[in-house]
């Protein structure tokens, strides 16, 4: 049909209407796609996450299916002109295979690296990890999820022994008496989620938001704490300090279900509220009101998101809030708990099945001999052939093309030229590669640098599964096949594997049918923390999704974790004492302002897709720099003036947008745009020592009229 790349989906024909999910964020709103003579229409669908709601990104998602800029043929860089030229699939794939072979022959297997994405389906993420480990046999694979929720993942792992963004269904938010959102702005990043917040407040619940900006979410809060960026950890420790002095700690829970509280109690004794107030600017009275709402509420939920997590102390910051939740006895208590709002569409599933440098499918550790044995068995290779752990995303990207670093990179579903910190440096690293291969549906800024670009199918052209922010595995369904000239990621991996090794073995190891891949994923994940063994596509269809762990087809799934025990060896949650430390880069006379980054409603991630949708482009056309009118007045800047934001690493130029909703000592820019408006030209590449998360949320800058 399309040069053999269109997999059999079991449906046997192109459906005219399918129930699927939005291609963008981790909320994975249910939507129906309908195709008729006029094109493809999106209709909202009742699903437990969005309950019929959609934001503008979802409504317009289908506009990319027949977009004029859509890639429909491979591109290969012409060695003489240096330009990307259309090529046949055979030419493009041969070029990739030859390049990979030559580089691996001369520089070793690890000289070829793979970079994945949190938007890939479970099947593709799984296949990509497998491809890296047994086709390329490189240890160097990681993905952009490092830039997303890796800090929360690490903190969750060390406290609970498992990392599932929300260990309870979203619906619990609607019933919480107190809901604390730390560095989360769902009103702009996942608008339909706000329906749950509205329900919560209509039911008399209290919403408290911690954010340095008066965001659309903060405006709805009963109480808004507006700390200096980089001080969320101190705020959490002060909240726990208050809970201790007021007697709100659940001593019975602490004794029965946790270990390590004494060390945390002593560490937060040093965080009396006035100390946190001076550091963060949050009044003691507001800290006390927050602690009271958390400590005396019945159903209490604490959620963190990127604002708390994207720091060089992101793991410790999340741990501080987990400590608070544990001390109050929340995790595992019905209607209560701690959770992380995962960002990318398959940010959850993408981190479970092997595209993370240190992981194998089922959220297994790649350095665990038992895990290696199990997964190698499923893959039909000896365990000692599996490579060891690689390095986290930023470290990997920063090593590209260097003396000891990889010389080739294969990118699937990511655009690090826009989304990586200190992006100009990473752009340079990508240029230093001998071979850059990018699989994408559009010519992203990263694809534009590639030697070979491979056009891939879109979400409405493929089947598979996604795991949303609740750990709910759900079905993505194809409306129609990819256009001629376009292949799926699974096909591309199979084609490459065939060229890199024995064709017959490759065909067996890299099936192109997602259902077949999912069946194998189930076996590979069986017995792991993220156990999908009992999940079938039919079961997902029958039940609005299935929550992992789900070890058996006839056993229950797990909408709520931790009711009886945590996933630690002794079943108890672990406290970890954590202390505030300054940002990796604090302000100084030359760079006197704090710079923080984030998102706007009408754009998604690096904007490769959403910047090409006319309605979204109209709503959010270009980058901007948000600053307080007092600061602007001192700098001689009027609303709309072009301004330059400069850090030690680079500069960003964009129009000023004045807002009293931001602290006068802080400026903000969204990161969705490339070129001069690229916020990540400015951001700091310091990373968290545990998670590898870069410090997107704070660095020191100077601002002037451009």
């Amino acid at each position: 049909m399309t040069d053999g790349a269109w997999p059999a989906t079991g449906s046997g024909h192109t459906p005219r209407e399918v129930a699927t999910h939005c291609p963008y964020c981790a909320l994975q709103c249910g939507m129906t796609l309908r195709e008729d003579d006029t094109g493809v229409t999106v209709l909202p669908r009742q699903f437990p996450t969005n309950r019929g709601g959609l934001c503008q990104k979802g409504w317009t998602a289908a506009e990319l299916l027949d977009h004029p800029e859509r890639l429909t043929t491979p591109l290969v860089r012409d060695p003489t002109s240096g330009e990307l030229r259309p090529a046949t699939w055979d030419t493009a794939l041969d070029r990739v295979a030859a390049g990979v072979r030559a580089i691996q022959d001369s520089s070793g297997r690890d000289a070829v690296a793979v970079f994945g994405g949190g938007g890939l389906t479970n099947e593709k993420a799984y296949a990509l990890g497998k491809f890296a480990r047994i086709a390329l046999r490189t240890r160097n694979i990681d993905y952009n999820g490092r830039f997303c929720m890796s800090s929360a993942a690490a903190a969750g792992m060390r406290a609970f022994g498992v990392d599932r963004g929300l260990p309870f269904p979203l619906a619990d938010l609607g019933r919480a008496d107190t809901l604390l959102l730390v560095g989360a702005n769902p009103a702009e990043t996942m608008p339909p989620l706000v329906r749950w917040l509205t329900e919560q407040r209509r039911g008399g619940g209290k919403l408290i938001v911690v954010d340095p900006r008066v965001t659309a979410t903060a405006r709805q809060a009963d109480l808004h704490l507006q700390p200096l960026p980089g001080t969320d950890l101190a705020v959490a420790n002060a909240l726990l300090h208050i809970a201790l002095t007021e007697g709100w700690v659940d001593q019975a829970y602490v004794a029965e279900r946790t270990t390590g509280f004494d060390a945390v109690r002593r560490s937060v004794a040093a965080w009396w509220p006035a100390r946190a107030e001076q550091l963060s600017g949050v009044p003691v009275a507001d800290l006390e009101a927050t602690a009271r709402a958390l400590g005396t509420g019945g159903r209490v939920i604490i959620l963190t998101a990127r604002g708390a997590e994207q720091h060089a102390k992101g793991v410790d910051t999340v741990s501080a809030y987990v400590n608070l939740a544990l001390a109050l006895g929340l995790p595992g208590r019905p209607g209560s708990g701690y959770g992380c709002l995962t960002g990318q569409g398959n940010g959850q599933g993408g981190r479970e099945h092997g595209q993370k440098a240190d992981q194998l499918p089922g959220y297994r550790k790649i350095d665990d001999p038992v895990a290696r044995e199990h997964v190698a068995g499923v893959w039909g290779v000896p365990a000692d052939e599996l490579p060891g752990p690689g390095v986290p995303a930023y470290q990997l990207l920063d090593s590209l093309g260097t003396a000891d670093g990889p010389r080739a990179l294969l990118v699937f579903g990511s655009n690090p030229v826009v989304s990586a910190p200190r992006a100009a440096r990473i752009e340079g690293r990508l240029r230093d590669l001998d071979l850059l291969v990018v699989a994408d549906l559009l010519l992203s800024e990263t694809a534009a640098l590639a030697d070979v670009v491979l056009p891939t199918a879109q979400w409405a052209e493929e089947d598979g599964t996604m795991t949303n922010l609740e750990g709910r595995v759900l079905r993505r369904r194809a409306l129609r096949p990819p256009p001629p000239g376009v292949r799926t990621d699974l096909s591309i991996l199979a084609d490459l594997a065939a060229r890199l090794g024995d064709a017959e073995t490759a065909a067996a190891r890299f099936p192109t049918d997602p259902a077949t891949v999912f069946a194998e994923l189930r076996r590979a994940s069986a017995g792991g923390a993220a156990d999908y063994a009992g999940i079938t596509w039919d079961r997902i269809d029958a039940a609005d999704g299935v929550h992992w762990p789900c070890p058996s087809e006839d056993g229950p799934d797990t909408p709520r974790l931790f009711a009886d025990r945590f996933a630690t060896p002794d079943g108890r949650a672990r406290f970890h004492p954590v202390d505030h430390r300054p940002a990796a880069e604090e302000v100084c006379a030359t760079y006197p302002l704090h710079f923080t980054t984030g998102r706007v409603l009408a754009q998604y991630q690096s904007g490769t897709q959403t910047r090409r949708v006319p309605a979204l482009r109209r709503a959010a056309a270009e980058a901007f720099v948000e600053l307080h009118p007092d600061l602007a007045a001192r700098l001689g800047i009027d609303d709309g003036d072009p301004v330059r934001v400069t850090s030690r690493r680079g500069e960003l130029r964009a129009p000023a947008r004045l807002s009293t909703g931001i602290r006068p000592d802080t400026v903000f820019a969204p990161f969705h745009w490339p070129g001069v408006g690229r916020a990540n030209s400015v951001t700091n590449d310091a990373v968290d020592p545990i998670s590898g998360m870069p410090e997107f949320k704070i660095c020191a800058v100077r601002v002037e009229k451009a």
């Binding site: 019929g52 009044p283 003691v284 009118p629």
Partner: protein, 479 residues
Amino acid sequence: MTARVVIVGNGMAGARLAAELHAREGDRKVTVLGAEPHRAYNRIMLSTLLAGRIDEPDVELTEAAGHGIDLRSGVAVTAVDRAAREVRTADGERIAYDHLVLATGARAVVPPLPGLDPADLPGRVVPFRTLDDCRRILTVARGARAAIVLGGGLLGLEAARGLATRGLATTVVHPTNHLMERQLDPAAGAVLAGTLAGLGVTIQLGVPATGVVADDTGVRLDLADGRSLRADLLVLSCGVRPDTALAQAAGLTVRRGVVVDDRLRTSDRSVSALGDCAEHDGTITGLVAPAWAQARVLADVLTGTDPLARYRPRPVVTRLKAAGIDLAAMGDAANGGPGEELTFTDPARGTYARLRIRDERLTGAILLGDNPAIGTVIQLFDRGHPVPADRRALLLGRTLGGAVAAPSASPALMPDAAVVCQCNTVTKGALVRCWRLGARTVDAVVAGTRAGTGCGGCRDAVGGIVDWLSEAESVEVTR
């Protein structure tokens, strides 16, 4: 760098220094000698302990342990032999050092009153300084009905508040005419006295005490105006005096405190001092924040992490926060002087604010009661950042400074370009156009524009616009 470091004192300063050393790279042996027989604890929390809200373990602090740190509590140092570079303990042990740090803190002042022998205080008379003091107060307070606190400074008021919380009839006796006179102006002192009275604390101002008579059954405090007050417990909170005995005996330069330079070095380059016992640039701080800043500098210098680190005092913020009391005082606000002054007073609600501004910077502030901008004010003062153009933001907080344009109450006044539905970027103009094209219900307008289909938060606003259009259209028709 320095191989053997001996720290005398395991209080807020000494324990912090041990932790700072512990956190830095390098091979060294650190011995911490604490005279008190306890783990390191947070002195700031003692008033909370006094109030009965927490138990003793809750005031414990993280102790640096292992990795070359030898922590010994209950060991009193009796002498320093600088020539031999060793300290002697009460047990006669000699401990050698390459570098010695004095973190001996301060002792509570016992006022020179008849009936008070500092070496042998009556059982019902207790200073308020250490954990042991706290224990003694609590022992006497059990079964007591009335308490007197002598001294209306910060600590005295915290103790009084704590005792009142326990249900004791508590009286504060203060010799000058207003409370906390070092930090507050008379007006603020008066508002604070009113606040305390409302919390059950009686205040006696402007009356020095003249003598104490105490026995097993009670204590009597005689006042200069001839009155006598009786109680079951007398808490002394008359200030502290740096504990310089060791330094003095060892021949180090001592004025009010052990004199140190910007590196926290005493007159002997092998001996440093920090915290309440140290006098830097003529100042003894008596507060935690400067002591911890000193600990950072000293650790940097001693370990060679940053040999050029120097202690630079920062302006001090005095903060009193107990149930029902919210007070912050900083800088020169009490004294007046050149520059702008902002004031706000609402004595009936116990709110008082006085701020001084010079060259667009805050030079001082007194905030008492409900001041929503208190966090901002403290940060602006601490960091020396410019103040808001609209000064009212300093008094009213972000309720003013953060005001965000709310959707206009009347749709008629809303500009066509106003975005009603943020999630789908639907303007009022788009809703009106949809209506003009024939949509006559909220559902029809929603279906036509997608307004309200994201977070759902604008459904009421969309409904309001549809209502307004219905009325406006009918008006037009009848006209």
